[in-house]
């Protein structure tokens, strides 16, 4: 039973230049205890999607489709109903721990607030839970840190605090929006290790948004590759790395720094994601795709179609043979 089910989600921002379809018909689902990775470049609609799920978008955005948390439909809920769910049933970890804690409130106050917003417990009880939460994410001397202000902590410690805060009320759904992007590399590794430890403990459905396929390989069960507001490929992690199907995924995989490529320039996908104000007429990736055919430039990409291997699906005009051959060549290179 999927904990989070998103069907045909469309998120549109009203702008002075016209509507921008940041998320354009995305469907996905995550089971409890599983981690779904969402990968893609900046501007692919990953964050817009996660904010749509949390109901945190500004009024200039309209969200259509269906988002179900368990049995409950989230779209159309009132502000106060959503508020009761946020921080309780579903929580989110933001990209930049430097700015997502209130600079003038002590860590402890912020954690206690997070508990007491949702649970009728005494201050003492809330405080104990906050201390336990800090301890659970590996923060040394949590009692002392409760009295700290955010600026007294390093980035890694602050991200731990954010994670503790998100997990305080044992959410069923946790969305992590590039939780390691703003951290330096050694800290990134620590936070990833922490998340891997927590994964098994919290038993929540986790949506991990990242542009780093390395992070995906470390943490995720399934992956959805997003491009220009749409999911172009979906597979289990093993399947994605073994049989990547979409040219965009190939590009992402090729741009990973490999062990034996130290002397070579890193691969990059030419161009940038298209403007969602006026998306290309055909397949949205066609202008950057080295395999693009006439049909790709003329007709929109087909809907996600099964590749015949488990749950994997891809939205691409290329034939299965071509995709298998090119994908195999790429993952072969990786292993060589």
């Amino acid at each position: 039973m999927a904990l989070l089910t998103v069907e045909n989600l469309r998120t549109t921002f009203r702008t002075d230049d016209g509507p921008v379809g940041a998320v354009d018909g995305v469907s996905l689902s995550v089971d409890a205890g599983k981690v779904l990775g969402i990968v893609g470049e900046s501007g692919c609609g990953k964050s817009a999607m996660s904010l749509s799920i949390m109901g945190l978008l500004p009024k200039t955005a309209t969200v259509e489709g269906s988002i179900r948390l368990g049995e409950r439909e989230l779209i159309g809920l009132s502000g106060s109903e959503l508020r009761r769910l946020r921080g309780d049933d579903m929580a989110m970890i933001f990209q930049d721990p430097m700015t997502s804690l209130n600079p003038v409130m002590r860590i402890g106050e912020q954690l206690i607030e997070a508990v007491r917003l949702h649970q009728k417990v005494s201050k003492v009880e809330a405080r104990q839970r906050a201390v336990a939460g800090l301890a659970a994410v590996g923060i040394p001397s949590p009692e002392d840190r409760m009295r700290s202000y955010p600026l007294e902590l390093s980035g890694g410690m602050r991200q731990r605090v954010m994670i503790a805060m998100a997990l305080l009320n044992r959410p069923r759904l946790l969305i992590a929006d590039e939780p390691t992007t703003a951290l330096d590399v050694t800290t990134q590794a620590q936070i990833l290790e922490l998340m891997r430890d927590l994964r098994s403990e919290v038993d929540a459905a986790i949506v991990l948004i990242t542009h780093d396929l390395g992070v995906v390989a470390e943490l995720c069960d399934e992956v959805a590759v997003m491009y220009a507001g749409r999911i172009v490929e979906r597979a289990t992690v093993d399947e994605l790395f073994a049989h990547p199907q979409h040219p965009y995924t190939w590009g992402l995989l090729a741009s990973l720094p490999g062990r034996n490529l130290a002397s070579e320039r890193l691969h990059q996908i030419p161009g940038t994601p298209p403007s969602l104000l006026r998306p290309p007429a055909g397949c949205r990736f066609a202008p950057r795709c080295p395999f693009a055919m006439d049909v790709c430039r003329a007709d929109p990409a087909p809907a996600l179609t099964s590749t015949g291997r488990g749950s994997a699906a891809v939205a691409c005009h290329l034939t299965q043979d071509v995709r298998d051959r090119e994908g195999a060549r790429l993952s072969g290179e990786e292993q060589a």
């Binding site: 921080g87 929580a91 003038v104 409130m105 590996g138 923060i139 001397s141 202000y149 620590q190």
Partner: protein, 324 residues
């Protein structure tokens, strides 16, 4: 959890003490001698104002009471400082002894009038500032947080009030409604709120899109909670600064209105009216102290509140650097 143990070990050794923004601000303020001197002056002024009844009994001259001994029999001018104090300060308490002279040609005691005038100035400065800040906070925060049409309406309202000529309007209103203590306070507050209001609006505008506000919403915090728990506390800095400046402005405005004769009723002592009392018939030419005493006190008081405000602004400025 080996890393945790390592951290625990480190903790027992000397750690760098991080200081909160508040501690840093106090550290900076402690080094700002101008601001400290201003603060000291303000404290003395408050004591001076509170001591009014003591001065009354010390000099034997009640407030707002004319004394024939306060007017020179031959020149008909108010007597000067220490006039009639034959034995210096030892003769204070005798009806003829005026420590700082008389304050007008009715023979009011200058010292007593100054003290009660300080009381008036401080009350008006503080009450008008409280009103100003309440209105400014309310409208500024609402405009900044809600945005949209609400913001447009409030921002235009601020522009309109800013465009009013203060003295012209205040004098006309004073004639229409009759002057009283509350009238002066309200009219000053009415013409002061828009400036700090704009500042608060701008602060909230920039704060409301910060990530920690989204994070608070992510945790299920309501709008009122975000405003009161997360945004308001961040306004304490600008609030302190503009409150201090606003006290100075209110005191000066009251003095100006009273000088022009459109301020406080006659039974309330006011520095502004003491200065204006020196004008008729050119009294100040022969008795300059009539103008010098209240004038100096007024200028120094306004200056002290302004300098304190500047000092607070520097102390609370996050770019102010670190003091070891």
């Amino acid at each position: 959890m080996s890393t945790v143990e390592q951290f625990e070990d480190m903790k027992t050794e000397a750690m760098v003490v991080a200081r909160t923004p508040r501690q840093l601000a106090f550290a900076r303020l402690r080094r700002d001698y101008v601001a400290l001197a201003s603060l000291a002056f303000i404290v003395l002024l408050v004591l001076f104002a509170l001591a009014g009844p003591l001065f009354e009994s010390w000099t034997g001259h009640p407030v707002n009471k004319s004394n024939s001994t306060g007017v020179d029999d031959y020149t008909l001018l108010p007597v000067g400082p220490l006039h009639g104090c034959v034995n210096g300060l030892a003769s204070v308490g005798e009806r003829a002894c005026f420590v700082l002279g008389a304050s007008n040609n009715l023979g009011y005691d200058m010292l007593v009038q100054l003290s009660f005038g300080a009381r008036t100035s401080l009350i008006i400065g503080i009450v008008a500032t409280i009103l100003t800040m309440v209105v400014a906070l309310l409208l500024g925060v609402i405009a900044g947080y809600v945005g949209g049409w609400t913001d447009t309406v409030i921002a235009r309202l601020m522009d309109i009030v800013a465009a009013f000529p203060f003295l012209l309007f205040a004098i006309a209103a004073s004639v229409a409604f009759g002057a009283s203590l509350w009238f002066v306070i309200l009219i000053i507050a009415f013409f002061s709120w828009f400036y700090p209001g704009r500042i608060f609006r701008g602060e909230v505008l920039s704060l409301r899109n910060r990530e920690f506000v989204t994070a608070a919403r992510m945790l299920g915090a309501s709008n009122s909670r975000i405003v009161f728990r997360h945004l308001m506390p961040q306004l304490i800095g600008p609030l302190t600064v503009y409150a201090s400046l606003s006290v100075a402005g209110a005191i000066a405005a009251e003095a100006a209105l009273s000088y022009l004769g459109f301020g406080l009723p006659l039974e309330i002592p006011s520095w502004g009216r003491m200065i204006s009392d020196a004008v008729p018939g050119g009294l100040y030419i022969n008795a300059p102290f009539l103008m010098v005493f209240p004038g100096t006190l007024l200028v120094v008081t306004v200056l002290a509140f302004n300098l304190l405000g500047d000092g607070l602004r520097d102390a609370l400025d996050p770019r102010g650097g670190t003091i070891l």
